[in-house]
Symmetry: D2
Subunit: 271 residues, 4 copies
C-alpha cells in the first residue's frame, strides 16, 4: 500500500538528544498527570528518566470536567518545568488547551499535546499548524478513526507541524473501566495511515494495577510508544491518582516491555 | 425537588422584543446551517420569521471535520447578518468557535452557541462566563448528562452568562441516522436541572424528511424549544443540506407544533 | 416509496374484539412487568383496562440478568392469566423465552413477545414463524435497525406470523437513564419499513416519573402504540418496580395521550 | 484478593489428551468459521493442528443476521466432524444455538460454545448447566462485564459445567473495524474473576491482515488463549471470509505468539 511506503517519522528533541518516532523503536513518555509542585514533579521525573523514559509528561493547564476540580498550576508551573527538565536533560510534552497558550509554551515543550476533549477544537488545531513542533493528537472520546485522521490533516495543512496519534480509550457502554482501549484502532492505523501511533494506557483503563497489562498489549500490537502516568504517591495525586503507576510499577513495566519488544525484534528506545 | 422550585428563565433579546425561555412557552429558532450569501440567508430568514420563528440561526464560523470543507464566511458574514436582522427586526444565535471571536460577535448576537465539538472546550466556556449574553450549550457527541451540567457550571461561574442546554443527538452504534436523539435526556433534565432545554432535530437525525416527526416528539416530551435548520434549496446547501427543511416543510411543522403544544396546554411563542 | 404503499396491518384478538395495528390508531398495551399473584395481576389489569388499554402485558417467564433474581411464576401463572383475561374480556401479550414454550402459550396469548435479549435468538424466531399469532419483536440492546429488520424477516419467512416492532431503548454510554430511547428509529422505520412500530417507555428510560413524558413523545413521533408497565404498588414489585406507573399515573397519561393524538388527527384505540 | 486464590482451571479433552485451561499456558483453538465440506474442514484442520492448535473450531449451526445467509450444514456436518477429529486425534468446539441441540452435540464436542447473540439466552444457559462439558461463553455484543459474569453464573449453578469466557469485541460507534476488541475487559477479568478468559480476534476486528497484531496483544495482556478463524481459501468462505487467516498467516502467528509468551515466562500449549 502506498501509505506504508510513506510512513512519517516524527522528529522531536528531548534534552540534548534528537529522536525519530516512527522508526520502529518504542518510545515511552512518562510522568505525572499534573505538575503539582517542584518536589512532586522532580521525584516523578527522576524515577521515570532513571528507568528509560525518553520524554516527560506533565500537565500545566488541565481540562477538568468540573470547574471546581484542580485546573493545573498554569504559568506557575513554568519555572518548575525549566528546572526539572534542565536538571534531568530531558524535554516535556504538555497539553495546550487554548490557542493563546501556544506562544508561551513553545520554548519549553518538545511536543504539544492536544487532549481528547479538544480533538475537535479546530481553532486550536489550525493555530498549532503554524508552528514547527510535533503535535501529539489524542483521539476524541467518541471520534471515528476517520475524524481523527481529518483532525490530523488540520494540523498538517501548513506543512510545518507533524502529528503523532495517541489512542487513549473511547467511550462505550462499559463502566467497569474508565474508557475502552481500542487497540483495533492502533492496528488499523499502523497499516492505513502514515502517522506514528502511541497509546495512553492510564486514561484508557483508569485502574493503575491494570495499566502494565495493557501497556504490554500496546507494545505487542505494534504501537510506537506509550504516554503513561507515574506519580510518587498516587493516593495523594491532585488528579487521576487511581490510574497512576508508582515508580516501582513503572520500573517493572519497562523490564517487561523490553522483553516483549525484543521478542518481536523491536527495540525499546531508552534515553 | 428544590431544583424545580428554582427553574431558571433565560432572557434574550431578538430584534425589538425580549423573551424569557423557561417560562413554559415553546421557542423555535430557525435558519440555515451556514450563512452562505445575503440572498440565501435573507430568503431562509424571511421564511422562518414569517412562520413564527422568534430567533434566527446561521453559522458564521463552522466546525467541520474536514479542513477541506466549507468553513463558513467568517467576518465576511457580519454585514449580511446586520442587514438581515435589522430588516427583519430579529436577532441571531451563532456559534463561537474560538475565545478570540467573542468580542467581535458580542454586539451582533442574541445568544452565543457552543457546538457539540466544543462542549469540553473549557477555555472557551470560561471566557463566555465573562459576558452577559446567554449561551446555548450543545451536548458533546458522547457527553454524559453529568458532564454537560458541569460544562454549564463553567459558563455560569461568574454569575453573568446564563445557559440554555441543547440536545442534538449523541453518538451511538446506530448508523441509519446521523446521531441518536436522546429525548430521555430532555425529560431527565427538565425534572433534574434548572436550565431550559431545547432540541436540535436537524443534527439529531440528519434526514430532512424525518425532522418534523422528531420535532413534534421534542415538543411532546417537554422541551422548551427547537433550533432547526431551514434552507431555501437544501440540495444546494454548502453544509448539511440533507437535514435541512424547506420553507414549506417548516411552515407545515409550525402548524403541527402549535396543535401538539396547545393539546398539552402550552403555547408556541411566535415572534 | 413502494414500502409506504404496502404497510402491513397486524391483526390481533383481545377478548372478544379484533384489532388491526398499523391502521393509524394508537394502541396501548399495559400491565405489570411480571405476573406475581392473582391479586396483583387482577388489580393492575383492571386499572389499565378501565382506562382504555386494549391488551394486557404480563411476564410469565422472565429473562433476568441474575440467576438469583425472580424468574417469573412460569406455568403457575397460566391459571391466573386465564381467570383475569376471561374476567376482563381481554387478551395478553407475554414473553416467550424458549422454543419449547410456544405450544403451551399459544392458546393463551394474543401476541407473542420476543424480548431484547432474544432478538438475535434465531432458533426461537424460526420456531415462531411456524405459528400464526403476531410476534412483538423488541429491538436488541445494541441491534442495528438493519439487524432488527432481518430478525423480523426470520419471523415472517413462512408467511404465517406477522411482526410488530418494539423500540425499548438501546444501550449507550449514558447511565443517568436505564437505556436510551431511540425515537429516531421509530421515525425511520415508519417511513422505511412496512411494520407497525410501538414503544416500551418503561424499559427505555427506567424511571417511572419520566415514563409519561416519553410516552407522549412516542405518540407525537408517529408510533403505533405503547407497551407500558403499570403496577398497583411499584415499590413492592418483584421486578422493575422503579419504572412502573401507578394506576393513577397511567390514567393521567391516557388523557394526555388522547389529546396529543387528536391534535395530530389520530385516534387512541380504546378497548 | 480472594478470587485470585481461587482461580478455576477448566479441564477439557481434545483427542487423546486432557488440557487444563487456566494453568497459565496459552491455548490456541483454530479452524474455519463454518464447516462447509469435508475437504474444506480437513484442510483447515490439518493446517492448524500441524501448527500447534490444541483444539478445532468449526460452526455446524450458524447464527446469521440474515435468514438468507448460509446457516451452517447442521446435522450433515456430524459425519465430517467425526472423520476429521478422529483422523487428527483432536476435539472440537462448536456453537450450540438451541437447547434441543445439546443432546446430539454432546458426544462430539470438547467444549460447547455459546455465541454473543445468545449470551443473554438464559433458557439455553440453564440447559447447559445440566451437563458436564465446559462452556465457552462469548460476551454479548453490548454486555456489561457484570452481565457477562452473571450469565456465567447461570451456567455454573448446578456445579457441573465450567465456564471459559471469550472476549470477541463489543459494539461501539466505530465502524472502521467490525467490532471493538476490549482488552481492558480481559485485564479486568483476569484480576477480578476466577474464569479463564480467551480472545476471538477474528470477530473482534473482522480484518484478516490485522488479526495477528491483535492476537499478539491478547497474549501480552494475559489472556489464556485464542479462538481464531483459519480458512484454506478465505475469499471462497461461505461465512466471514474477510476475517479468516490463511494457513500460512496462522503458522507465522504461532511463531510470534510463542516468542511473546516466552518473553513473559509463559508457555504456548501445543497439541
Amino acid at each position: 500500500m502506498a501509505i506504508e511506503n510513506s510512513k512519517k517519522n516524527v522528529t522531536f528533541i528531548s534534552g540534548d538528544k534528537t529522536y525519530s518516532m516512527g522508526n520502529g523503536h518504542f518510545y515511552v513518555i512518562a510522568g505525572p498527570c499534573s505538575i503539582e509542585s517542584e518536589v512532586q514533579f522532580l521525584e516523578s521525573a527522576r524515577s521515570v528518566v532513571a528507568n528509560g523514559a525518553c520524554l516527560l509528561r506533565g500537565g500545566i493547564w488541565k481540562l477538568r470536567s468540573s470547574a471546581q476540580a484542580f485546573q493545573g498550576l498554569g504559568k506557575a508551573a513554568f519555572d518548575i518545568v525549566q528546572k526539572v527538565t534542565s536538571e534531568l536533560h530531558t524535554g516535556i510534552v504538555t497539553e495546550v488547551t487554548d490557542p493563546r497558550q501556544i506562544e508561551s509554551l513553545y520554548p519549553m515543550v518538545s511536543i504539544f499535546q492536544v487532549g481528547s476533549r479538544n480533538m475537535h477544537n479546530y481553532a486550536l488545531l489550525k493555530e498549532l499548524a503554524n508552528q514547527d513542533k510535533p503535535v501529539l493528537l489524542k483521539r476524541g472520546l467518541a471520534a471515528y478513526i476517520d475524524e481523527w485522521l481529518k483532525a490530523a490533516d488540520y494540523v498538517e495543512t501548513s506543512g510545518r507541524a507533524q502529528v503523532i496519534l495517541c489512542e487513549r480509550g473511547i467511550r462505550t457502554f462499559e463502566t467497569a473501566t474508565r474508557n475502552t482501549l481500542d487497540l483495533n484502532a492502533v492496528a488499523f492505523l499502523k497499516k492505513n495511515s502514515p502517522y506514528p501511533v502511541i497509546v495512553d494506557p492510564s486514561h484508557a483503563i483508569g485502574i493503575g494495577e491494570l495499566v502494565p497489562d495493557i501497556s504490554l498489549a500496546a507494545a505487542a500490537v505494534g504501537a510506537d510508544g506509550l504516554i503513561v502516568e507515574v506519580h510518587p504517591a498516587p493516593k495523594e495525586a491532585l488528579s487521576d491518582g487511581p490510574q497512576a503507576l508508582t515508580p516501582t510499577q513503572f520500573s517493572q513495566l519497562m523490564i517487561k516491555l523490553e522483553k516483549v519488544l525484543n521478542a518481536l525484534d523491536r527495540k525499546l528506545q531508552k534515553k
